[in-house]
Symmetry: C2
């Protein structure tokens, strides 16, 4: 494919700026033979204006037609040639099988949102019929449904160049909601972004979506222009706490503040319960190691903290985990910046009072060696921030607590998380049931006997959680409930049938389940 | 009743501070014979800690039991004696019939949320069953439902001392969601607040809710302590743009930012279409006047702007409206501060270039005289802020536009609104259908041939809208959808039956409609 390196604005390509960027081979660190032109402030503004213009048209396109658009994107992604897979692996050092799997996940995600659009329940229709005879005052006819929020700015993640990026969950849920998108291409995989953006544009043209339904700009700091632009009505972000919080602060400081869903930092506590350690400690040490080093630890749901009660079995577990981690081979990270941050985090942990280094060396080169630390429970209980913020990479920290009470104190001391996991035998679950209400308040997803890496794309998934896991615990960025972030309710009072949206018309042409006078029903009125 | 004037903390009364406040007779301006002790910072903190402690218990109380609590509050409110009605009229200058009506609305609101709890759909259960045979990877069992967000700080409104205050919509929806509450009593009606708080406390004790489920503090600026306290996880506010934005900014600047739903400023445009003016201009002028002066204009949904296309009928309408407004009698406002703000707003409008004064005098005394202004359309088109911010009181501004195009430009220039209304004959609606998509983007509630004052409490209501109408267009503070502001989703992965919440158990003991593998069903699994 011909990589132009120009910004995507209103269905056209634009490169007015003088600053250029390169993409790099993640293995070698060498620049790839493509040049990308950073968007100027004018171009960033034009992209937002394009999204605004397209929004007035796109939001009125029927859910069925929007579903065709999403399905077309999925088909375009599935049909990308082997050359595409190759370039993604070059840019990210992620193996071919992983990229193929992630591509399948990304197109599945688009098709799942197409199903949501055809199912229609996201519109959440509610009707309170007129009560002209009611005393002391009659009631007028009132009908509510959810409509699109407005143009959305999307910032993708480095670690999922497909599933959490250009055509990822934020873009898919925004499109499904009826929102247009301005994407800030991740500088870590700009060639990938261009391939995917082209796929989206082809799908938009093929299904006759308005120009400007999808826009994308390249650049380092230009993304802040998107968040500040008055046309933008919502933000989706996946990345670091620092980056996400900066965008959140910018959005909150606008003359008109806008909602931001930023998925940021989580250490995903794993709680090892005594019977499980007794019964299958060696297995747990193996599986835990696999989860910690999977994808070089570059997952938001990577288990960054392991908590267990002091016991001979816990000591054996720690010894085995130490050995497993020490024997895990180094892997290439996504890019130099990711590796630098990993090494910085490791150094901080090494120098942190109350933290012991158990396994892993820091060596020169571009590969990351898995590490294991242990930490004093008091650090968590007293709210130490270094231990609470994730170190992105193949590292985890063991916290040995003295008893039930200290276990509760440590879990209480934790900040918000994407996930919290119990590794437990049935007896454990009966004994430690009291932990679950505590974990419910800490995390968006609660697991028993599983590992949090591997986030299923489905209706019931929650990839969210209290701060700093995300900037708003009421949302999720994976699964079909992600659409709710980009919807708002509108009420029509005393509207005649011909002016009502189909979802709210008496004869229920979309066959939706509706809340009518307090009863759920698919009946016409 | 014995008014103690002490803060409500953890089911007890506390008055550690030295600062005291008085409540005033709104008619005479004389202090009422009660003294209220402003909460100290320590007391504000204790109130938040009480709400946090109670939350760990209250959130686990079943929806049915929470419904009993809400019903008990409703009963307590309905059973308050004539002395209560009298004191509310004294504090607010609102007439007895209005207060009785508002009390009925407030207890109805509590009972409606009790129905929501019994219906159970607010939990939004979703189940994706395990697919152990799926390739390349099996799917584990995943179940999602909505749970309570956390303790909520509530700031009531002066203009609805019952329905938007101590036991108002924010408190009701927070309680329904499973959240505990710290109320900042409105200084404009502290005696009323104490009566209502006592009613809530009696209901909580009678239904055996945990101490601290409801807390309330008195004071002028102490409310900011609630928003800053780490235990508080959400904020509900009804009041001015300045006050709401200040709390929003405070919440966004916390180490852990929290969601704020602030209902603030709306001028509720009324669009008069030509056929309607021709057919019934005189009636419209009468009904419009009634809506503008109702409750002395002290409604969030008061029509603050009237837009029509220049025509002989529009000129006649303006003349008639001018006469009607000029003849409307003065009324006592809620308090001196409200009157001062009204007079300040009037003076600003009078001195504003491009604005003409049509009716109403400013006279000394404590009563508000209705006013009418007209303004050049260009002011709105160019984003003038004085015209866009509501002047709270019985005043409205007429904007005459030259044609369809200027009508669109004016409506496009408007900021976010709670409501937008078309006054129209059937022919008008066919001719001006194109306005509706524009209005959908501007307001939370769209009316045809009605007046926005009078907000029905029901399932389909939206009392919300884009900024500055509210701080988050995705919420509503009236109607049962208000509960969503105080809920967050949680996903249970691979949880055994006995550890799942009832809403997610296989046999569906709550008989909920659930999204199971993409299909809505009440069937057990």
């Amino acid at each position: 494919m011909n990589i132009l390196g120009k910004n995507y604005i209103f269905g056209k390509r634009s490169a007015q700026g003088k600053l250029t960027l390169n993409s790099y081979n993640a293995e070698t660190g060498e620049p790839l033979p493509y040049t990308f032109t950073q968007a100027t402030e004018d171009e960033a503004r034009e992209a937002c204006e394009a999204a605004h213009h397209a929004f007035t048209l796109y939001r009125q396109i029927s859910p069925d037609r929007r579903a065709e658009f999403l399905d077309a994107i999925a088909d375009e992604l599935d049909n990308l040639p082997a050359e595409f897979i190759e370039v993604v692996t070059q840019e990210t050092a992620l193996p071919e099988a992983r990229i193929k799997g992630e591509r399948a996940r990304t197109s599945h995600q688009m098709r799942l949102f197409a199903e949501v659009l055809r199912r229609g329940d996201f519109m959440a229709p509610r009707i309170d019929t007129a009560l002209p005879e009611r005393t002391p005052l009659p009631r007028v006819d009132l009908r509510q449904m959810s409509i699109a929020l407005g143009p959305v700015a999307v910032f993708g993640a480095s670690n999922f160049p497909l599933a959490f990026s250009t055509a990822g969950g934020d873009t898919a849920s925004a499109f499904a909601a009826g929102c247009t998108v301005v994407m800030k291409a991740h500088t870590g995989h700009m060639v990938t972004a261009e391939w995917v953006a082209d796929a989206i544009i082809r799908a938009a043209e093929r299904t006759e979506m308005p120009a400007g339904v999808f826009n994308m700009i390249y650049g380092e700091k230009i993304g802040t222009e998107l968040v500040k632009h008055p046309a933008i009505q919502g933000v989706g972000f996946t990345g670091s706490l620092r980056g996400g919080r900066a965008l959140f602060d910018l959005a909150a400081a606008r003359p008109q503040p806008i909602p931001v869903f930023a998925e940021m930092s989580s250490i995903n506590p794993m709680i090892l319960l005594p019977q499980a350690l007794k019964t299958r400690g060696t297995d747990i040490a193996q599986n835990m190691t696999a989860s910690v080093v999977a994808g070089c630890g570059q997952f938001c749901t990577n288990p960054g903290m392991i908590v267990g009660i002091k016991s001979p079995e816990m000591s054996t577990f720690i010894a085995e985990l130490t050995q497993n981690i020490a024997q895990s081979p180094p892997q290439t990270m996504l890019n130099k910046g990711t590796l630098d941050n990993y090494l910085k985090g490791l150094t901080e942990l090494k120098n942190h009072p109350g933290v012991n280094h158990l396994a892993g060396e820091i060596e020169p080169g571009n590969r990351a060696i898995p590490h294991l630390f242990s930490a004093q429970p008091d650090l968590i209980i007293q709210g130490d921030t270094r231990l609470q913020e994730e170190v992105f990479g193949p590292v985890t920290v063991i916290v040995e607590v003295s008893d039930h009470q200290q276990l509760v104190e440590v879990l209480t001391g934790l900040q918000g998380q994407l996930t919290a996991t119990l590794i437990a035998e049935p007896n454990d679950l009966h004994e430690f049931t009291y932990l679950i209400p505590l974990l419910e308040q800490k995390a968006g997803r609660l697991l028993i006997n599983g590992y949090p890496t591997g986030v299923e794309v489905c209706d019931a998934m929650v990839h969210g959680g209290p701060y700093p896991a995300t900037s708003d615990p009421r949302g999720t960025s994976v699964g079909t409930a992600a659409i709710d972030r980009f919807l708002r309710p509108v009420c029509y009072q005393n509207y005649p049938q011909f002016l009502l949206p189909a979802a709210l018309q008496d004869h229920n042409p979309l066959k939706l389940l509706r809340l009518i006078d307090g009863q759920l029903s698919r009946d016409p009125l």
